[in-house]
């Protein structure tokens, strides 16, 4: 599928708020699902998944902490595996399934992992928390009962400056060894 080179129209929806377009931007169609919902957009291909999530879809839970894939604040799940949304072009997830932190739990009801984070004091400033949760989700999908070393390895790509990681590890351990085990997937 080679994408058509169109003249690039200004489109309706969030992009139109910008009003002025400086020059003809080529926007191409993107369809994917986010937290179970189908999304169709026209975007400029240089947008990252992170930008599209935050700006087009207004899902600001996923954060930009460094822009170069190191800190992990931008981690989301793509088809169930953790990826850096700041290093993923939005077009690369065309026809894929994305899960962000907003997709965990139900309306107003945190899922067992989120609740465990709350209960164990694993959240301080909270900026790294969404990315951390998604990396843990990715880990638990592949390994539902990780030991401490495996948990630490699983979150080794998520930098937390506040907690020193101790209570994060405790929170994950509690959820995998407790009665909540069956509920920790997706």
């Amino acid at each position: 599928m080679i994408v058509k080179e169109g003249a690039g129209e200004s489109v309706t929806g969030p992009m139109a708020k910008r009003g002025i377009k400086r020059f003809m931007k080529k926007k191409i169609p993107l369809s994917f699902t986010v937290n179970g919902e189908e999304v169709e957009l026209y975007i400029s291909p240089n947008r990252t998944l992170l930008e599209v999530l935050r700006e087009e879809l207004e899902l600001t839970g996923t954060k930009e902490g460094c822009g170069e894939g190191v800190c992990g604040s931008c981690t989301v799940l793509c088809d169930g595996v953790p990826v850096r949304s700041c290093l993923t072009l939005a077009m690369e997830v065309d026809r894929h399934d994305i899960t962000t932190v907003e997709g965990l739990g139900e309306q107003g009801e945190p899922d067992p992992l989120q609740q465990s984070f709350i209960d164990h004091g694993a959240v301080q400033c909270g900026f790294c928390t969404p990315g951390m949760l998604m990396s843990v989700k990715g880990l638990l999908k592949r390994n539902p009962a990780p030991g401490e070393e495996e948990i630490r390895r699983g979150i080794s790509g998520n930098i937390c400056r506040c907690t020193g990681y101790t209570k994060i590890v405790e929170a994950v351990t509690a959820v995998t060894t407790g009665s909540n085990r069956k509920n920790h997937e997706g």
Binding site: V3, P45, E92, S156
Partner: protein, 336 residues
């Protein structure tokens, strides 16, 4: 930082991709996992007109063994290399290398083995934002004429920090390149040019499609060693890979490569040869070989990564020695 604009192309199969690369030539870059490319785009180290995504290509993934050759599709995700029984059994150095790449949530799912082999060379003075590099003349790698890592250097002194490339250099690997004109095969030592300004022997229009590693055979063992400041995320300050064979209690073929030194992993032919024929428990010889490896690798090294030159040079000795010992342990362990 927003990525500069480009035209995005997503060919539907390999042939389309090659046609596309042929017509766009040097104006195009290839996007596989993108975990390195996107950083460089944001830093405006390159501003391609076309980005050719390989996301739709099928058939370039997978690992299999055939006729004494272990074949890895260039688009095989790193996690698959890690979990492959074939790789674990025959190419332990590669498995160890891939394990140490970055962190699972960064590269292991999106990154590919081909992408890691093609990781551009790096230098503290080059891999910086556009603003950081402004206000002074660009360096050799940045299409300029100076070097900030080594004063008065007339060429680029960036280093290859790819863990996969270091391991593959020691294991010996052929790189298969495809284009509209057909295929050609290059040994990895030729594919990686050792030139910081242009580290890869890729012609415009070519795409790396396959890696072929010869099956190591009886009495083989390999090991990958890496020095970093943290236990994940970091690029190698220096790395070493050793692939060897043990025959009758003595060293058979030995290949030592060192990464984080030159603009390609250094295959240290002379140092490797000094071990051949020696008993595997001859620690003096192992140490001497390691020292020679350090000496030869040091000639390529400058202070361009985040640690002192002296320290990295010393670590070549330590890592090569540890690599040799671990490779021997693997070789003798699996022989039983």
């Amino acid at each position: 930082m927003i990525i500069p604009e480009f035209e995005y192309v997503a060919p539907g199969d390999l042939q389309e991709a090659l046609d596309c690369l042929a017509s766009h030539g040097e104006e195009a870059v290839v996007l596989a996992g993108g975990t390195d490319l996107l950083v460089r785009l944001k830093q405006r180290l390159l501003k391609p007109r076309f980005v050719v995504s390989l996301k739709n290509l099928r058939g370039l993934e997978g690992i299999h063994k055939k006729d004494g050759v272990i074949v890895l599709g260039a688009m095989t995700p790193l996690v698959e290399v890690l979990e492959s029984e074939t790789v674990g059994k025959y190419l332990p150095a590669l498995k160890q290398a891939v394990e140490k790449i970055g962190a699972p949530s960064i590269q292991h799912f999106r990154g590919t083995i081909g992408g890691n082999l093609c990781l551009d060379t790096r230098c503290l003075f080059y891999n910086q934002s556009q603003f950081w590099r402004s206000g002074r003349t660009p360096c050799h790698k940045d299409s300029g004429k100076t070097c900030y890592a080594e004063e008065n250097s007339d060429r680029c002194r960036s280093a290859n920090q790819s863990d996969g490339a270091c391991a593959l250099m020691a294991l010996g690997c052929d790189v298969v390149l495809a284009s509209t004109g057909g295929q050609r095969v290059l040994p990895v030592g030729e594919f990686l040019t050792g030139k910081g300004e242009s580290p890869f022997s890729i012609e415009p229009g070519e795409l790396v499609v396959e890696l072929r590693v010869p099956e190591p055979g009886e009495g083989a063992g390999s090991s990958f060693q890496k020095i970093t400041q943290r236990s994940a995320i970091d690029f190698a300050l220096v790395s070493a890979a050793v692939s060897l064979r043990v025959q009758g209690g003595r060293f058979g073929g030995v290949r030592i490569s060192v990464g984080g030194a030159g603009a390609a992993p250094l295959f240290l032919k002379e140092a490797s040869a000094t071990l051949v024929g020696k008993p595997i428990d001859d620690n003096r010889s192992i140490d001497a070989t390691s020292g020679l490896a350090r000496k030869h690798a040091s000639a390529f090294m400058v202070e361009n990564l985040g640690s002192s030159l002296e320290y990295r040079q010393k670590m070549v000795h330590v890592l090569v020695r540890r690599g040799i010992k671990e490779a021997v342990a693997m070789a003798t362990g699996c022989c039983g």
